[in-house]
């Protein structure tokens, strides 16, 4: 059992959980994820380690409610526990001196770029973060990122805050700024966003990494469910990734594979014994 030391809503449907998990800390590096099981009958779900605190022996998870399991997790309060936390898993992010790195976070993907920002800044990179959300309420971690970034550019689809438009619009502007040439881009977020980022950087030949989120089961390479096509290679995101060269990834296939359980996910959602008791304020039933 892993104790939750703090649980807060960051945005409607997005919760931050600070969980005691000393074993994950030892080899944790940015880019790693963990597999969580909330309770004995739960699914195994992959979640990025968004932050760590070696003094308190905790990891931070930032979770968006998208289905039955994430809802179950987000309904937990400070003082409650999750059953299992296995990790750290995956390969760490390529952290080196690039020069100017732009991190792009969409929605809960912003959780992925936070530890990267820290590590890249420590190596002396210039770090810019472009973070997007539907509207002002959905832009998360701006404060946290600004502690490690040279500049943070919030973007909202509806223009209620920061740049009016998608993160790719803001990214284009940064690339166009010849005063601060962009040497590398790392993006994490919804698949269409990552695909769009790849298309923005491709003509400029900017080294671009994306953090993929296929459906996983074991997270240890044993099942092959997380396979993605990168170039002409079939790779397993849990052991070969989850970060890959954006210009090589087949995003359309990934996006399609993420819909494989739509009907079952609806059933799982409807099956919850207590009905929909989510405290997240948005009833974001999987569509």
């Amino acid at each position: 059992m892993f104790l939750i030391l703090d649980a807060q809503w960051l945005a409607p449907g997005i919760r931050r959980l600070i969980v005691q998990a000393p074993h994950v800390l030892r080899h944790h590096q940015p880019g790693h994820f963990v597999i969580v099981r909330v309770a004995p009958e739960s699914e195994r779900i992959p979640l990025t380690v968004a932050d760590t605190d070696h003094d308190k022996q905790t990891i931070t998870l930032i979770v968006q409610v998208v289905g039955a399991t994430t809802e179950q997790l987000c309904n937990l309060e400070t003082g409650q526990s999750v059953l299992d936390v296995a990790g750290p898993l995956g390969k760490p992010t390529e952290i080196k001196k690039f020069g100017h790195v732009v991190l792009v976070g969409g929605g809960v993907g912003t959780a992925v770029i936070l530890p990267q920002a820290k590590a890249l800044k420590n190596l002396g990179n210039r770090v810019s973060a472009v973070i997007g959300g539907r509207s002002k309420d959905y832009v998360i971690l701006e404060q946290d990122l600004s502690q490690h970034c040279d500049a943070v550019y919030p973007c909202t689809d509806d223009g209620s805050y920061g740049y009016h438009g998608f993160v790719t619009g803001q990214l284009n502007e940064l690339i166009a700024d010849k005063a601060q040439p962009v040497d590398a881009v790392i993006a994490a977020g919804p698949v269409p966003m990552m695909k769009a980022v790849a298309e923005v950087t491709r003509p400029h030949g900017i080294h671009t990494i994306v953090s993929l989120n296929p459906i996983m089961v074991d997270g240890t390479g044993m099942c092959g469910g997380c396979r993605v096509m990168v170039g002409d290679k079939m790779l397993f995101a849990c052991v070969d990734g989850p970060e890959f060269d954006a210009h090589q990834v087949d995003f359309d296939e990934l996006r399609d594979r993420l819909t494989a359980y739509r009907t079952q996910e609806k059933r799982a959602w409807d099956h919850k014994p207590s009905g929909h008791v989510c405290k997240c304020k948005v009833a974001e039933v999987p569509s």
Binding site: E41, A86, G221, R227, R257
Partner: protein, 469 residues
Amino acid sequence: MTLKASERMKIPRQHMPEQDPGQRATNFGEVNFGLACEAARTEADRCLGCKGAKCIGGCPVGVDIPGFLGALSEGNLDKAADILFDANVLPGITGRVCPQETQCEALCIRTGKSEPVAVGYLERFVADWAREHRTTKVQHPPATGKRVAVVGSGPAGLTCAGELAKKGHQVTIYEALHKPGGVLVYGIPEFRLPKKIVDSEVEKLKQLGVRIECNIIIGQTYTISDLLNEQGFDAVFIANGAGLPVFLGIPGENLKGVYSANEYLTRVNLMGAYRFPESPTPVIDAPQVVVVGGGNTAMDAVRTARRLGASPATLIYRRSRQEMPARVEEVKHAEEEGVTYHFLVNPVEILGTDDGWVRAVRCQNRELGEPDDSGRRRPIAVPGSEFEVPCQVFIEAIGTRANPLLTQTTPELKVNKWGYIEVDDKNMTSVPGVFAGGDIVRGAATVILAMGDGKKTAAAMHDYLLNQD
């Protein structure tokens, strides 16, 4: 009363009572019920007690087969159990899953003249009797003060841990998944190997003082060097299995509805998808399922699909029935359950609907040519023989390769060109104090070989630990 050999020869092989095929094709209960005591003793009477019994040589761990059958035939179950457990610590499991027909039973002197003695059934019988009737006297030998880490809780890891604990070493097993047992829990289905049997083995280990830490991935959470240096273990046994599924590399493999057998079986067995939505991990429902492969994994996948309602549930295999590596009993059981076989057929493409779901698999016939390296006749493609088999789920069970998670963070560990760990005749790796066994050394093999490795390595580790200072 001792029987004459001629009388023994007259006794027919006893039948294994089993669930009715029509019924069992709809549930996950065990297929075989096990012999009743009377039948078991009668079957044991069929053993001629040969001097220099060949069957022993067919057993990878050298069980004294005539010895335990003799005790059983006398009705001395305790003695039978002692003899059996002396060589095989997991007989309740191997009695159910060993390929007896190519091992002990193949060498039974009766084979050919009549049917071989049903060694597997009797092994299972004695083990089940012992589990239910014997209160294991937990011996706590004097502690040696030595600590051993075991990586992986499959049959190799469980066996090694038990043997070392019995010698007084303090053992901790690290398991990557949330439940111990390895393939025995995530791969082999309940209808062949009830999980309560694996659970009871795990329970026994705990009583012996073995600690089991799940959700720890060695190579990620801790490295081998952490175990030896910081955590103060005196030796390590690596038994992380083979693991990574191989895919065919044909078009259409990323359509929705294509699974590796490992994923399909893990979803159903370990994660309980057959109880969805009570158990929240789903598996795609499909009226028609095709599985490719000819081994136990393929059989388990196709029979699982059948139980989840697939009709037809079809198995395609590129060689012929005789060459199937699966246990003969499973091939027969599957057929009785309504599984359809297509032999000498290979998939060449998986066809999808416009919205990305599997709709059929395009296959091509094969004919048998000259024998290949394995001695089996090589299947050769027959051009122009393509045909489609409709299905909505397509499962690949064509083998596994070495999981690199652990070895890639331990570069000093010597591996061969396929990534399997190299060991010496004592199963020690290139790193002193680090031993390995089971599938990660042999490539995909069997439960009994993994168990045998665990046992043999435990003995070598015991020597190593005592001579360490």
